[in-house]
């Protein structure tokens, strides 16, 4: 097991945890931050797979700009999810 394999496994596990958290949490701001963590880890994975162009796009657009767009949209609407059963 070299370092790259360990980094890959840590990234994938973090991505799975963050996406599960993003689905389950009722605070939309936390969900957006968690999905931006997914994008950041994905960009690290792209770098490991020797695709620096895609890694830059993912980091700039996925982790940066789309997070901001979601956050602005949340600021203008509601922060907490409503309970579906009511």
């Amino acid at each position: 097991m070299n370092v790259v394999v360990i980094i890959t496994i840590v990234c994938v596990l973090l991505m799975i945890l963050a996406s599960y958290f993003a689905i389950k949490t009722e605070d939309l701001v936390s969900a957006v931050i968690a999905s931006s963590v997914v994008s950041l880890m994905a960009s690290v994975l792209f770098l490991i797979l020797h695709a620096p162009d895609v890694a830059m796009t993912e980091a700039a657009i996925g982790a940066g700009l789309s997070t901001v767009v979601f956050l602005i949209a949340i600021r203008k609407t509601e922060r907490f999810e409503k309970d579906e059963e009511q």
Partner: protein
């Protein structure tokens, strides 16, 4: 009012979704793990072998995106333009900017101004060197847009001049199409490389690729800046 059995149905649905995700993940894994990257075939092989000869671009990805598949990139830029325009059309007419409740502190207000210049320089570096190093018009444009986002967040009442943004965007799009049409007239195919190719690794090399990527960088940067400004402008 609780519907009976909803919890149970939801749980069954969750298990079902989990199984589907597991299945597709396994399929992806089996496809990716059997890819033979040392032995590419077909179009990819052509790109890898003839890139230097055809375009003199050090970055193969750039020469595929801008030169071999330049027409697709024009479509991509058009999609982004339509998305930004659509958002602007939906949000227009609601422009009521209220005072921010919490002002940014003085350090941020004064520090953001020189930082904007550095961020724009970095974005410009990314798209000017698109044919030499990783990155290109889309990435550089996004970096520039985040610089303007910083200004919108840090300074109260910061306004982006919509006229300039629109003109920059239109001129950049026009440059892209004009370069393509010149290639069509001179060499018989859209986006053909009509400029001298130069030497691999020089800043002025790879023919029309740097020109098109600079145009794409300006276009994406101004589009995303306009989009962010449209979204920031609407506060109850």
């Amino acid at each position: 009012m609780k519907k009976p059995g909803l919890k149970k149905r939801l749980r069954v649905k969750n298990i079902f979704v989990f199984l589907i995700v597991l299945y597709f993940g396994f399929q992806m894994f089996s496809v990716i793990s059997f890819l033979d990257l040392n032995n590419v075939k077909g179009v990819a092989k052509y790109y890898l072998e003839n890139d230097i000869k055809d375009t003199q671009s050090a970055n193969v990805v750039t020469s595929i995106v801008v030169n071999y598949r330049g027409f697709d990139t024009l479509g991509e830029v058009t999609v982004l333009f339509l998305a930004a325009t659509g958002l602007g059309a939906i949000l227009s007419g609601h422009r009521k900017v209220k005072k921010q409740k919490i002002l940014a502190n003085t350090m941020l207000q004064y520090g953001s101004k020189p930082l904007l210049a550095i961020v724009i320089l970095f974005g410009a570096y990314i798209f000017i060197h698109g044919h030499l190093s990783p990155g290109g018009g889309f990435q550089g444009g996004t970096v520039i847009a985040t610089g303007f986002l910083m200004m919108l967040l840090a300074l109260e009442g910061y306004e982006i001049k919509h006229g300039y943004v629109k003109w920059t965007e239109s001129l950049a799009g026009l440059t892209f199409v004009t370069v393509g049409l010149i290639g069509l007239v001179l060499l018989g195919s859209f986006l053909a490389n009509f400029l001298p190719l130069g030497k691999v690794g020089d800043l002025f090399s790879a023919g029309v690729i740097p020109i098109i990527y600079v145009a794409v960088g300006f276009k994406v940067g101004s589009e995303l800046t306009g989009l962010l400004d449209n979204m920031m402008g609407v506060i109850e």
